[in-house]
Assembly symmetry: C2
Homo-oligomer: 233 residues x 2
């Protein structure tokens, strides 16, 4: 093992509480791998239970919908760890992981990883804190997504109105007459208040502007992106 | 302490690997509380870092959107644990917790809980497996919610078509002529395939039926529920 490899686990946050000698010994138990950008490191259907430390580069954790649409859960950069769920509970992989950019990882078997957690309570607590963070971030995302429905339908209704609208030379869509909030609300099954809030948000983001005689969509592309972001299958 | 209380932590799955004597000693360090149905046990804004064991009854973990809409994250029944995230990372509570039904809990300070995790690797690993499960369930939910957008917009479009449709004596809405999939797709910014799939799903659920001359919505109320389920604010 080169001197570089001997010290390679030094940057792994999870192992901060270990001595350099302990990290070096652990490094010797790992298998080292290099991946090109876009290469798959964990295939969701694989039955490997290894844990991976990101030595250099970065990886993206993704899940796939039935139709194959990719949903990025997290990016993990050098110093981070991934693949720990299957190592902990022995269940199948919950997500796929691919390299984004040239990436070097150190793979540790699940048995070895569990031994480290048993023997080093500080490492175990660091991992629990990391898992707690993932749970908090997921909760926030679930909250966002749960309240997205009505917003998304208002955006889609506005986009539909753009199609029938006059388009100016600058590419602005002039919707005339100005749509009545309660009409939009009725079409997409929400409240007038929600429509007003969504239009205010769009106006703050510079996507729409209210003129005397028209609602002007200044950036039809961004509106389309907003709709399709949660497009589903 | 009564004999009952002395043995009360025996049912807590997380503490399975401890001896009865160890559980009894831990039970003595807890504060015991009873809550009526609907009573708040953890307020999201509180700065307590206690961990709670559910001795009897059950609790619901909820997060709130800005508009106050409640989103249930999880129900935890007797034998379970909650409040561990704040104990682990010292950050504010991520959610509120309320009793559903008469509930008895044992509260342990964060310091005591962290001591248990350090001294008992099996308890630490059991907690890590529990956190891993929460992360897996959250990931599945994020996937569901992320693919919900287009389905929801198709439902909303169909509901809008019902309003203009003839309503039969049985309360069925007869949409005539049968809407063209690509028209719906264009209105709600999705693909023809998605519209076809959503209509098939609705037909399988007995919500719509295709007649020779009309698309019949047999259950307008259920369609409205589907739209409003993800209504947001």
């Amino acid at each position: 093992m080169t001197e570089l490899a001997a010290r390679a686990l030094d940057g792994i946050g999870l192992l901060d509480s270990l001595t350099a000698a302990e990290r070096e010994a652990l490094g010797r138990t790992c298998r080292w791998r290099r991946y090109a950008s876009g290469e798959q490191i964990i295939d969701r259907s694989s039955d490997s239970r290894d844990v991976f430390f990101v030595i250099g580069g970065a990886v993206r954790v993704v899940i796939y919908s039935l139709s194959g649409r990719e949903i990025a859960l997290d990016d993990i950069t050098a110093g981070g760890v991934f693949g720990e769920l299957a190592a902990l509970d022995g269940s199948p992989r919950s997500a796929s992981v691919m390299a984004i950019g040239e990436t070097t990882v150190a793979a540790m078997t699940a048995d070895q990883f569990l031994r480290v957690l048993r023997e080093h309570p500080d490492v175990a607590l660091a991992l629990m804190r990391r898992l707690a963070t993932v749970i908090r971030v997921s909760g926030a995302r679930i909250l966002d997504l749960s309240t997205l429905g009505a917003n998304n339908r208002v955006h889609a209704d506005l986009l539909a109105l753009c199609r029938a609208a006059e388009v100016t030379r600058e590419g602005h869509a002039r919707i005339r007459p100005i749509p009545v909030h309660s009409d939009i609300a009725a079409r997409v099954s929400t409240t007038r208040e929600t429509v007003a809030r969504v239009l205010n948000d769009l106006s703050r983001q510079g996507i729409v502007r209210r003129d005397a005689d028209a609602l002007v969509v200044l950036d039809v592309e961004r509106l389309r992106d907003l709709v399709e972001e949660v497009r589903g299958e």
